[in-house]
Symmetry: C2
Subunit: 225 residues, 2 copies
């Protein structure tokens, strides 16, 4: 078109840009990759933990290993405040579900179809290495000093232990959780191949959520926060 | 013999009592059980760690999982002083070998017939889940902040990584060590059954050592230390 100078697109749009329009290709691919490795059929319950380092280390292990949901039963004496030097901010990529009591947590998990397996050293406990991770499995870890309560044990579908063979009678909880999560992930890897198991709609929803979080993170970085 | 009152055995013995004469049956059985679960063909190298919690957590995992030998390469800036709240004294049941440099440590391990596998995230690293733990294997974990040095990588027989699939790019070292040691133990368990792999003379020697340590521990308890 001749004359009248250049024409500009209006600056205002009727809809805000989609996160996928703002993020660079590399970031979008990374999100896709992480979502592809995620599972919602393996989950971890932290029952009344008290140590900020342990909480943080377990969250970081979950995030790194593709476990999307973590369930936290409140310790009445301690605020759930994972050590941020250890989490390195990974908690924002997780869904952390909070409960006042183990009963509430159990009800939610049972409604979702989970078997609830408690980590404890008990006569007749199943070896971690003999467990099946085929269905929906929730792994419960109790308080660092007191372990899980008799009430929690009574409400569980099973008790498992990590076979120990030393004078040491217990593992640090971040270590126990790491051993159990890694075992579950490798069990599935060997039987189903790599990758997560989200349904297409779950994957779409999580992709969208990670994109929004990534935009927020980018903005924070720009502002120098 | 009649008359002359009762006769007593002399109080002095020509040889001191054996630890096995002093310890109760239960303790002797426990020692036998632990020795039966020990291995000297799987070992861990801690290369220039700096965090006392991490050092302690790894030692506790090794002791609990039956790994008898731990190799420590000195960090020139930090004394190797594992946090005793975390170790809970387990280090006395281990053989901790100390070196000034990784080169010295490597030489000792190679002389013992070990393959040296370094934990690092590198292109082409072997997945932990694809590793064989058939022979003598040493697993090396590097400094928390700097990882392993290029020099260590160059001297290794292989590099392995724990397949991660989250935004988190690294695991805490106590978590990584727990994942790797548990994997190695379960790998052998599935192929060889439970139990350790000490030769009869190694088992005798270690039994004797654990008995002596148990007597010392008992004396300490009596003195209220």
């Amino acid at each position: 078109m001749a004359g009248g100078g250049p024409k500009y697109e209006p600056l205002e749009r009727t809809t805000p840009p989609e996160p996928s329009e703002i993020l660079v290709e590399e970031r979008l691919r990374r999100i896709e990759q992480v979502v592809g490795g995620r599972t919602r059929t393996l989950t971890v319950v932290l029952d009344q933990l008290e140590d900020a380092f342990n909480m943080a280390a377990v969250l970081r292990t979950c995030e790194a290993m593709g476990v999307q949901d973590v369930h936290v039963v409140r310790n009445p004496e301690v605020t759930f405040q994972p050590n941020s030097t250890v989490t390195q901010g990974c908690d924002k990529w997780l869904d952390i579900h909070r409960y006042e009591t183990f009963g509430e947590c159990r009800a939610a998990l049972k409604a979702g179809g989970f078997s609830i397996w408690v980590s404890a050293i008990r006569e007749g406990a199943t070896s971690l290495f003999e467990m099946s991770f085929d269905g929906k499995v929730a792994l419960v870890f109790g308080n660092e000093r007191h372990g899980v309560s008799p009430e929690v044990l009574a409400q569980a579908d099973g008790v498992f232990w990590i076979p120990m063979r030393g004078f040491t009678q217990s593992l640090n909880i971040s270590v126990a959780a790491a051993a159990a999560i890694t075992r579950a992930v490798s069990w599935r890897l060997e039987r189903r191949g790599p990758g997560g198991d989200l349904a297409p709609d779950e994957a779409r929803e999580l992709t969208r959520k990670f994109q929004v979080l990534s935009v927020k993170q980018r903005k924070k970085l720009y502002r120098g926060e």
